[in-house]
Subunit: 326 residues, 2 copies
């Protein structure tokens, strides 16, 4: 197994990507605090360049590629946010990028990749293997495959959000008692836990997931990797991975306290509240942590300082209009 | 005439309200820079508590009221954002607040006032005088009238956004060549110009308005106050005042370089871009400055550092859905 990232490697990654990413704001809101029954510190990764945290990991990974090996480019597969992060990081480093995306990915995400000069190859989620397609393209091009989560540099790069969050809480003179973060593959949540140095600080980190896609919650409960039943669906397109990854599980079993889960209806309500109270556009998967803070907060977090990650804001206008207009 | 605010009084106001308001973030966006043809520094007052900058002026004004005179409360008239700012500031100081609002104000703004314990009295824009209603209530209650813009403490309080903006640009090591800010009554833009110390820095400040409601543009061109034709309409409900105020004109004729104006269609497009590129909810009036940066940028601002104020985000979900879904 590859070397696991540590607090130290995440701090180094944060230094490496600092000039490439936005230091996203942490906001407070009285109305949401009241509804949640806790003091929420909301970190806005939806305001990150490319509309999600994914630029962090992609930047850190691509910066590892020696300059004389960059011409062959990179290949990635992703439902959208990682796609955009890789495409933007590649553009900045002058590298070609091919992204393998499901044909039902939100149009806004596909358009985002193309606008950054990324080449898009669509595949059928039900009938094709994105891994096989990506592997074939990597060989044909001599390119570097950029995994979406199960890679130490990706995890460490996403963790730069945690290093920032720690700095921002230091500036505010407060320590978080809990952090709630969405978990798909688990790159962000585990990088974040390391970057924030959650264990050392006694901060409990909770995975936020859609109800029928709660592989992290069930895995953490079982003490071993549990896979979602095939065919489970949710509006949270960005975080629908079948199970924790190898590296992310090795980290997560040590770093994470447990899992929380919400229904699609609760996700929609969290998006509506982000619209009306925060004036922020959050995509379904990006609202999972806020929804858990509002509707599935652990008892021990009541009245406490709770960090909440809004992880992305790439949602098609028609879907957003439908959700807030409901 | 009352004493005009100065850079110094605005700096003092900024200190006074610092604990009461959010230091709103300044964001950058490559896609919008490219479209505008300038380097935009976007200050997000839509992320201010109550969803607009208005809490700044209201807090500064209410903090002037001696504690032993607070029981009788305050009265204000407003289409919505000032209403919410006054209601929230009053709530925090334990004062009753009556807000006189037009019956066609966005429901989200009326609800915001009520949620903060403000009493709302609706009036008919076409047939009743809000000034007369407010005056009558002030006398009956022995309350303090809180004007929405033509007051030195209100102007100075709004200007705290300019003091912050200057600090934030200092931290970024950059000076703004231009600032574009919406102008209704002119409290924000003039306070901002003073707070940023625009004249001393050689920063040009431009008023952003809807095309057929360009009283500031025409007044600045004429060198005297020009009033909008009655009955002009725009979707920018928050900035539809008939003419510059007394104090704000006395300041504006010295502080402002000129006016810019955009159509409702351009306002809508700016709101769509704020949604898709910035992941921010901006109301029509709050998008006026961004729309001017994108569609009516002065030639001399091309390629320069341009500050843009997103002044508010209180928009009804149905209207927002209609605009982004179009």
């Amino acid at each position: 197994m590859m070397q696991l990232p540590t607090h130290q490697t995440v701090v180094e990654a944060a230094e490496r990507v600092r000039a490439h990413v936005v230091r996203t704001p942490v906001i407070r809101n009285e109305a949401l605090d009241e509804r949640a029954g806790a003091r929420l510190f909301i970190k806005c990764e939806n305001l990150q360049t490319t509309g999600s945290f994914k630029l962090r990991g992609a930047s850190n990974r691509l910066l590892q590629i020696p300059e004389d090996e960059r011409a062959a480019g990179v290949v990635a597969f992703s439902s959208g946010n990682h796609a955009q992060g890789v495409a933007r990081a590649a553009k900045r480093l002058g590298m070609p990028a091919l992204i393998v995306m499901p044909s039902d990915a939100p149009a806004i995400k596909i358009a985002g990749v193309k606008r950054d000069g990324g080449e898009v190859r669509l595949y059928d989620r039900e009938r094709e293997s994105r891994e096989a397609i990506a592997e074939e393209e990597v060989e044909r091009r001599g390119a570097v495959l950029v995994p979406s989560f199960d890679d130490p540099y990706i995890i460490a790069g996403q963790g730069s959000a945690g290093v920032e969050f720690a700095e921002q809480m230091d500036e505010a003179g407060t320590v978080l008692d809990h952090i709630i973060c969405c978990a798909g593959g688990g790159g962000l949540i585990n990088g974040l836990a390391l970057g924030y140095d959650a264990k050392a600080k006694g901060t409990k980190v909770w995975a936020a997931e859609p109800e029928e896609h709660d592989d992290w919650r069930r895995s953490l409960k079982a003490g071993e990797v549990v896979t979602n039943a095939p065919g489970t669906r949710s509006i949270c397109d960005a975080i629908l991975t079948p199970a924790p990854g190898k590296l992310t599980w090795a980290l997560g079993r040590e770093q994470l306290t447990g899992g929380l889960a919400v229904s699609d209806a609760e996700i929609r309500q969290a998006m509506q509240l982000a619209f009306s109270e925060l004036k922020l556009v959050v995509e379904p998967g990006g609202a999972a942590a806020l929804a858990c803070a509002l509707f599935d907060l652990p008892d021990e977090a009541r009245g406490k300082n709770v960090g909440v990650i809004l992880s992305g804001g790439n949602v098609d206008p028609a879907q957003f209009a439908e959700i807030i207009g409901a």
